[in-house]
Symmetry: C2
């Protein structure tokens, strides 16, 4: 399943969102304009706007009402990528130099702030206070997730529960509210928007675990960055946590992680990646991603059987899809 | 006039705001908690909450309705200070080590993001979409102001108009909407809230020009940081722009500024500060600050003569007050 097939039915609406995004990040300030436009052109899957649009199909679908939400969610996501790059010392994202690499940390920080602000400006068009409560609440949780990630850098003693709480805040919550807010903007009943929230949450968890697996198992060509990037920055993900629980691997992996930490970004993570790949952590993580995907699919069964339900199911299957 | 006298009539309401602020920035995450609480304890004049409260006196004053706005405005201001410190490489603010100096840039960035998010959460309690439109619009303008400041670092060819536009976005706008939103939350008529917006704008301009003057003319004891900090980071302020227009000073000042720029933060700005102090730029800037203050006072005359009007007049006089 290619995402493009999935998106075919939404093509014209997505183009409208794309135009709204381009308009939202345009300004008279060349410095800001260039950095924001650069980010926009680097693309991305536009997963969140698609989910907002599909969520909207469960109510009275009106592109005019759903458009600001879809754009706002993608802008919040974009802003978090920009700020993530400041943290990650990442030089490329999606195969393109990051805003931070092209300009510097300060520009990246204010570009992120600006895009976040624009998200709220766009969302405020709707004049629905619930939308603001949900959006601002999610932004706060995302920040906590980012801080938790910093706190947990190179912490090899963290629990799986710790990891799950972190990715919940960092990733799953924004996807959950994307689905929920699409439905709310379309005036769907609370039972429907709540089920869509839970669906989005499960999809988000499956998505992040799969993303973390790809960082270990993928090739540079496939993932657009060298594998083991997470480990190099100190981010201990699920497959690594599982690998650390294997006595035959633990000590060597701990030594490798300590070496990476002490190398302060200069050390190679290839040996650690090799150890994790050879561990049962890959299979265990795949199983958990699939469990979240299955829960997402079951959540959908409670919803009316409209075409958008099939599309959401395809998205759940897509995000948990692995080819490495 | 001491600010404390001015605040006396608002003392109990300000304590409530202080409690709301403390609650807003508390979290279960020690890393975040400590950095945010640290910032809170460093204090500050709480100028924006005071202005919100006074704005609210022009409508049906209800602390319950005005409290979220007052807290939100101070939180947005605090977030901008945290992000400013990332930019400024500032080691102290208000005599205390900055969040950035105590932790690092990444923590400072996400602390700022978190506080900004909390501001919006607090403001969303009111359920008034206009408030969100005004708040998010102001956040966007502040970001543009920050980017403009980066763009204009060490640019000795910028116009006074350029400087004024920058401080309008960076400072004046937030004070303007503080006054306006207080009135809006209290249900004041648009003519009143608009006049208060204009008052706040003029006060904000007078405030920033005076602040920029203090950085040149103040002592380290008085301003809590070494004078000439703005110049060291490349921020060319109004007195410097005026001094650059004086033929007897221009060439030497240009050489000093180039030396500071090439020293990348290590160079001393004392010689440049001395040149500016001896120039007519001080007097010209004082005159402009006073003009903004006078415009602010004239704006007040259009408003009903309630006690809060006198308080706002005192604030206008206070912010333009100089002792160096």
């Amino acid at each position: 399943m290619k995402l493009m097939q999935l998106y075919a039915s939404l093509k014209s609406d997505l183009q409208t969102i794309e135009d709204t995004l381009a308009k939202s990040v345009s300004s008279d300030l060349p410095l800001l304009n260039e950095s924001a436009q650069h980010l926009l052109k680097a693309g991305g899957k536009r997963l969140r706007p698609v989910i907002v649009l599909l969520g909207g199909k469960f109510g009275e679908y009106s592109l005019d009402r759903i458009k600001p939400i879809a754009a706002a969610l993608e802008l919040i996501h974009m802003a978090s990528l920009v700020h993530d790059d400041v943290i990650d010392d990442a030089a490329t994202r999606r195969g393109q130099p990051t805003v931070k690499a092209k300009w510097d940390n300060r520009i990246a920080m204010f570009t992120g702030d600006y895009i976040n602000g624009k998200a709220l400006v766009v969302a405020s068009e709707l004049g629905d206070p619930r939308i603001h409560q949900i959006l601002s609440g999610a932004i706060v949780q995302m920040c906590i997730g980012e801080m938790e990630q910093i706190r947990d850098f190179f912490n090899t003693d963290q629990s799986v529960r710790n990891y799950l709480l972190r990715i919940r805040r960092k990733t799953a919550l924004l996807i959950a509210i994307s689905c929920q807010l699409g439905a709310i903007a379309a005036g769907a009943a609370p039972a429907v928007s709540n089920a869509l929230y839970r669906f989005g949450y499960q999809v988000g968890m499956a998505f992040q675990i799969t993303d973390d697996l790809l960082d270990i198992c993928g090739t540079e060509k496939k993932i657009g960055k060298p594998p083991g990037s997470d480990l190099r920055q100190g981010n201990i993900t699920l497959p690594v946590l599982h690998a650390l629980n294997e006595p035959a691997i633990r000590d060597e992996l701990l030594r490798e992680i300590a070496r990476i930490r002490d190398g302060e970004g200069a050390a190679d993570s290839a040996a650690a990646v090799k150890l994790v790949r050879a561990s049962g952590g890959i299979r265990a993580s795949e199983l958990l991603a699939d469990r979240f995907k299955d829960k997402a699919l079951r959540e959908l069964e409670k919803l009316p059987n409209i075409p958008a339900r099939k599309n959401l199911a395809d998205i759940a299957k897509f995000v948990a899809q692995r080819s490495y």
